[in-house]
Amino acid sequence: MPGLEDLYREIILDHYKNPRNRGVLPPPAVRAEGHNPLCGDEIEVYLQVEDGTVTDVRISGQGCSISQSSASMMSAAVKGKNVEDVRALVSRFKNMMSIEEGEPDTSVSLGDLEALQGVVKFPVRIKCAVLAWNTLAEGLDISLA
């Protein structure tokens, strides 16, 4: 059985305890909501998209260390990126979480997010890690609709 340290890397605990980009954004920023029916986690992602670029992002909601830190790291990773790159990152991340098939696009860099790789060894926690990303993807869809 993998140990706790495989799951809870230091950088994850850091993002959990000091979440980046907490808060809300007023309209015209879009708001997307996700929840994990298994554990009751709820997340809100606010996205400001201007000229094809995610200029700002905020996270609200409650959740476990994995879902919260994943959201925090995501917010840091996508801010300032253009929508295409963000989508590529979502795809790369889900691939790492082994819930998207196919060869990973290794040209997309995960950076700190690689710390979440250990979650794969704890299959029930994958949903926690992915919650923010699915909600982000929904937010992108809304902002482009």
Partner: protein, 410 residues
């Protein structure tokens, strides 16, 4: 790829039972099938070593139980060639699966005056739910008649389907053994704009199934008839249809959120799986699917065809006009279920004499009373063979029948 019936028999513990020193001749598999060692062991060892809740708790015992449970869904999907595992919904039996279709799909899509087409060879499970909805909503039920040989009489099918919203029919009759031309019937339904619902209870356990090749919309089937545990049934349906349907039973697991003001549904397939599922039974079903897959459904069908040919020949050869076998004599359009009338001996009495020889057959209406009325009988004797039955067992059936004749018709 050799099919060895003796090896198969050795896998089923109950088949080595002796009662009063005589072997058990189990010819009632159309009713419910026996279970192989691998299914029994999968259930037992799961309860001894791995039992836990599914889709709820996060500790690894629960996660592994969930994996075992969901693995069965994938196996079942592959077994019937569904597009994806989330097209498989677990129910308690095929009856619940059919009720689910009628209530959820029918409840949302049918209204006063709408027509639903059934056939005259349906099992009560594919009749009564429709009658209940029909009484509530004022639906019209139309019936496809049968030929003298017990096949569907499709000569007027187009007319019957004209304007109909649904065509629900069995892939194989549980009384006559008739194998229906499912793909053709689905195509006819679709041409008329009707949804095609297949009762696969009798076909899935006995021959290869390909719901995509059929192009069907729904199929209901049962674990306990395909060497799997009791207490589980399955509904396969096209994902888009399931997505569009309202839920059936309400409760835990099928929700995404619940507030005092209302609830929202979970994603497929959880949406249709309310409450704690038949966890151990679904795990056992996985072993059953593995078992049948390893043997190969084409081999099962070929073996049953052989036993059926032998049984039909033996019965006709020995009893001639003293026996009336219902359904088609052509083994290409029938499965291994053989219903008959024997002289003027009542089926219940025939079954009683057979029982003295441990020959287990069902005597009755087989949950198909409208068909019985068509046959002009209250009851028939039904011997149904499966992968573990032998031609020799058909001979034991004949010997026992002869004794019933001696006893009642001197």
């Amino acid at each position: 790829m050799g099919f060895d019936v003796e090896k198969v028999r050795a896998d089923f513990p109950i088949l080595s039972e002796r009662i009063n020193g005589k072997p058990l001749v189990y010819l009632d598999s159309a009713n419910t099938s026996q279970k192989p060692r691998s299914v029994i062991d999968a259930m037992t060892s799961f309860m001894e070593h791995g039992y836990g809740p599914t889709n709820r708790s996060a500790y690894h015992l629960a996660a592994e139980a969930t994996d075992r449970f969901e693995a069965t869904r994938t196996k079942v999907a592959r077994f019937v060639n569904a597009r994806s595992a989330s097209e498989i919904v677990f129910t308690k039996n095929a009856t619940e699966a059919l009720n689910l279709v009628v209530r959820s799909w029918g409840g949302a899509n049918l209204g006063p005056g709408d027509a639903v087409v059934l056939t005259h060879m349906e099992h009560h499970a594919n009749i009564v739910p429709w009658q209940m909805l029909a009484a509530e909503k004022g639906l019209e039920i139309r019936w496809v008649p049968l030929t003298a040989d017990g096949l569907l009489d499709t000569s007027g099918l187009e007319r019957l389907l004209d304007g109909a919203k649904a065509f629900s029919f069995t892939a194989m009759s549980n009384v006559l053994g008739t194998i229906n031309p499912v793909a053709d019937l689905v195509a006819a339904a679709h041409r008329a704009g009707a949804v095609a619902i297949v009762d696969g209870c009798q076909s899935v356990p006995h021959m290869p199934t390909d719901v995509q090749a059929w192009d069907a919309d729904f199929m209901a089937f049962s674990s306990h008839k395909m060497v799997g545990p009791s207490g589980v049934g399955m509904l396969w349906a096209r994902e888009e249809i399931l997505e569009a349907m309202p839920p059936f039973l309400g409760g835990g697991n099928m929700i995404s959120d619940v507030r005092t003001e209302g609830f929202t549904c979970a994603e497929l397939p959880a949406k249709f799986e309310a409450g704690t599922q038949a966890i151990v039974e679904v795990v056992g079903l996985g072993a059953a699917v593995d078992y049948l897959t390893a043997i190969g459904m084409a081999n099962v069908r070929a073996h049953e065809r052989e036993v059926t040919v032998h049984a039909l020949d033996a019965l006709k050869g020995r009893f001639g006009d003293d026996i009336v076998i219902h359904g088609s004599p052509d083994p290409d359009v029938r499965g291994a279920t053989v219903s008959f009338a024997f002289r003027d001996v009542h089926p219940h009495d025939v079954s009683q004499v057979l029982d003295q020889h441990n020959v287990c057959v069902r005597a009755g209406h087989h949950c198909a009373k409208p068909l019985m009325r068509l046959l002009g009988a209250n009851a028939t004797v039904r011997a149904s063979f499966y992968l573990y039955n032998t031609p020799a067992e058909a001979d034991v059936l004949c010997d026992a029948l002869a004794e019933a004749g001696d006893f009642f018709c001197l």
